[in-house]
């Protein structure tokens, strides 16, 4: 198990490239090969819809959360102690 993890950690660039390739292949498969006739909305039939939804959605979630944190939700750990 540890050896397995270290194999990939020592080859970080290859690992990243493999992950990226997998994501691209999945996106291409979803866009051109999968039957979308059972989709519930017409939006879902746009090629790469779910990839775009995932990327933009997750990026917005992260940025929104950090923005709210920056607005004052994130505070020092001893806030309630005094």
């Amino acid at each position: 198990m540890i050896a397995f993890i270290e194999f990939f950690r020592e080859r970080m660039k290859m690992t990243i490239a493999l992950c990226l390739a997998a994501v691209i292949l999945i996106a291409l498969w979803g866009a051109f090969l999968v039957d979308t006739s059972h989709a519930h909305t017409s939006m879902e039939k746009i090629p790469f819809f779910w990839s775009a939804f995932g990327l933009i959605g997750c990026a917005l979630l992260i940025l929104l959360s950090r923005f709210l944190g920056w607005m004052g939700i994130m505070t020092r750990e001893d806030y309630y102690d005094d």
Binding site: I2, V23, H38, E44, S51, C58, I62, R66, L68, I73
Partner: protein
């Protein structure tokens, strides 16, 4: 009792009461046998109404067994075995007693058929679980426990007010059946508030991350399973199709993810993830079709296992190293590889990765929403599952097991895989998470309605894999923004914490001042003459009466001296004794 039907919760209650007698080599086997017997008794439940008791004017129903209650009772009693196994090395009897009473409360609520019995077990859950917070014995535990208890007591009072009003409106109906969700009245809303406090629906959710992150290591494993999912059961029973639950649940699913992204404490992140995941189930109940109710039940079932697994994993890190703050961890895969593997399986399950349990359960709710054209809610839930992947598969594992090693020398030396029982409990939960994901009939055949849903379609696979892949890319690009920081997050609990503080200020400054004036006046005017007179009567009683009669007062004083040692002055111990006596009292009334 009208027949010899054995209530599964009774096994746990009696088992808990007998636990202090079990010592030495018999204790650990006993700890496992009691929950296993409970599970077996749940497996043997026959459909129908059992355990009907005539109490005053009311007919109390302790055992209503049907498709809905059976699946929940099954998973609750199964989780009780796993949770007890995880805490097996805990030598404190108090932990196991509290946990079993808590589970008994949950199973009792699930099997009840009327509101009085529901209320009884509902409160047993709250009072059992609060001890799991106190038993952490950390600097915050006492205050957190009281906040938890106060919130649940308030929720319980809403429920009490609701069903009392309903009893009055309907001319004496106490049965717990689907309520009129199309034409809700005040009683319906009061009961709903009582239920959604326990389901942690915003704005009543703050107790959850507060309590789960402060609970003891093994206590949190129990807490993360029972309260919210029992609430989902009662919502599914009483409020299926209540429209307002759809937006509430969708908001909840995203709210939890947003707070999880900015949180630093590993267990608190999963507590926020719990809020998010329960949001799915709340949406499913709100939609109220057979597909979505099936989805809520399936997701509750799957959630109890993977959430328990995640709390066991992060709990093991806390147990071994003394911290689960991501800013104080990193690189632990070398020291805790087995814990890493199991926690990753929990993460993949919660994120709905194909071949794991979340994939086959949460998609039922989303499809159910799409079918009735609830597009906003459905897309919100899909987005939340991307966010869950960010948290449970990327953020927590990355900063705990990989990433920059921020461990102090002490943390690094203490780190290691936990004792065998903890690993075994995680292994069972992880195995079930994968089994549910691979062999869908196991779960689907238990659901309340016949299932015609197939999760493994090319379209569903491609949709999920695209979102997960892109979540990974978003994480990789935006790592600086999701990296943990040593902060805490303010939430709606700010209001009641500050209200409590204001109340304490008012109490300690103003009421206290008035009180000391009154005491001073009383001391000067009233106390001295009173004391003189009573000293005389005391002397007379002790020497004249008691000496002459039989020495009763001297014996009573000796007993009192012994009993006094039980009184430590801490109110939580008094609550413990009072709760134990109350349960014993109820048992005697009901069963004899």
């Amino acid at each position: 009792m009208t027949n010899y039907w054995l209530h599964p919760a009774l096994i746990l209650i009696v088992g808990a009461l007998l636990l202090p007698l079990m010592r030495g080599a018999i204790r650990r086997p006993y700890l496992l046998i009691v929950p296993i017997l409970t599970f077996i008794s749940v497996l043997g439940l026959d459909d129908g109404v059992h355990g009907v008791v005539q109490f005053l004017d009311w007919q109390l129903i302790f055992g209503r067994v049907d498709n809905l209650s059976r699946v929940f009772a099954y998973i609750m009693s199964l989780m009780c075995i796993i949770g007890t196994l995880f805490g097996l090395n805990n030598e404190d009897d108090g932990h196991h007693i509290a946990a079993w009473f808590y589970v008994a409360g949950s199973i009792g609520t699930i099997l009840c058929g009327d509101f009085i019995v529901l209320f009884l077990f509902w409160e047993m859950m709250a009072f059992g679980s609060v001890f799991l917070v106190w038993q952490r014995r950390g600097p915050q535990s006492l205050a957190t426990g009281y906040r938890y208890l106060i919130i649940h007591t308030i929720g319980g009072l809403f429920l009490l007010a609701g069903f009392t009003l309903r009893y009055y409106n309907t001319g004496g109906d106490l049965s717990f059946v689907p309520l009129a969700v199309d034409a809700p009245n005040l009683a319906t809303y009061l009961i709903l508030i009582g239920f959604i406090v326990n389901a942690a629906v915003p704005p009543f959710h703050s107790w959850l991350p507060d309590a789960y992150a402060e609970a003891s290591v093994a206590g949190a494993v129990f807490m993360c399973a029972f309260t919210t999912k029992t609430a989902i059961y009662v919502l599914a029973r009483g409020f299926a199709g209540m429209d307002i639950l759809i937006p509430l649940g969708a908001v909840m699913a995203l709210y939890g993810v947003v707070y999880g992204i900015i949180e630093n404490d590993g267990r608190r992140i999963f507590a926020w993830d719990t809020v998010s995941q329960v949001g799915y189930m709340v949406v499913g109940v709100g939609i109220g079709t057979s597909l979505s109710i099936n989805g809520s039940c399936a997701h509750a079932f799957a959630h109890i296992l993977y959430n328990g697994l995640l709390f066991m994993g992060t709990g093991s890190v806390l147990y071994m190293t003394g911290t689960c703050k991501l800013t104080e961890l990193g690189g632990l895969y070398k020291k805790m590889p087995i814990t890493f593997l199991f926690t990753l399986i929990g993460g993949l399950s919660i994120a709905g990765f194909p071949l794991f349990s979340g994939f086959v359960s949460k998609s039922m709710i989303i499809t159910g929403g799409m079918e009735v054209h609830q597009y906003w809610a459905s897309f919100a839930l899909i987005l939340a599952s991307g966010g869950t992947f960010l948290l449970a598969v990327l953020k927590v594992p990355y900063y705990t097991w990989f990433g920059k090693n921020n461990c102090s020398k002490e943390v690094w030396e203490k780190a290691g895989d936990p004792p065998w029982n903890m690993k075994a409990a995680m292994g069972i939960a992880a195995g079930l998470c994968a089994f549910i994901g691979i062999y869908t009939p196991y779960l689907y055949n238990m659901l309340p309605f016949p299932v015609e849903y197939h999760p493994y379609t090319a379209y569903h696979l491609s949709e999920t894999m695209q979102i997960i892949g892109m979540a990974g890319i978003a994480f990789f690009i935006l790592r600086p923004f999701i990296a943990p920081k040593a902060t805490i997050s303010l939430d709606l609990d700010w209001f009641y914490r500050m209200f409590g503080r204001g109340f304490m200020w008012f109490d300690s400054r103003i009421i206290q001042t008035i009180d000391s004036w009154v005491a001073e006046i009383y001391r000067v005017i009233g106390l001295w003459p009173l004391m003189t007179i009573s000293r005389f009567w005391s002397w007379f009683d002790w020497h004249a009466i008691d000496g002459v009669v039989d020495g009763t007062a001297r014996s009573v004083r000796a007993i009192g001296g012994t009993v006094r040692r039980l009184q430590s002055g801490n109110i939580q111990y008094s609550i413990f004794y009072a709760a134990t006596i109350a349960v014993g009292f109820v048992l005697v009334i009901v069963f004899y």
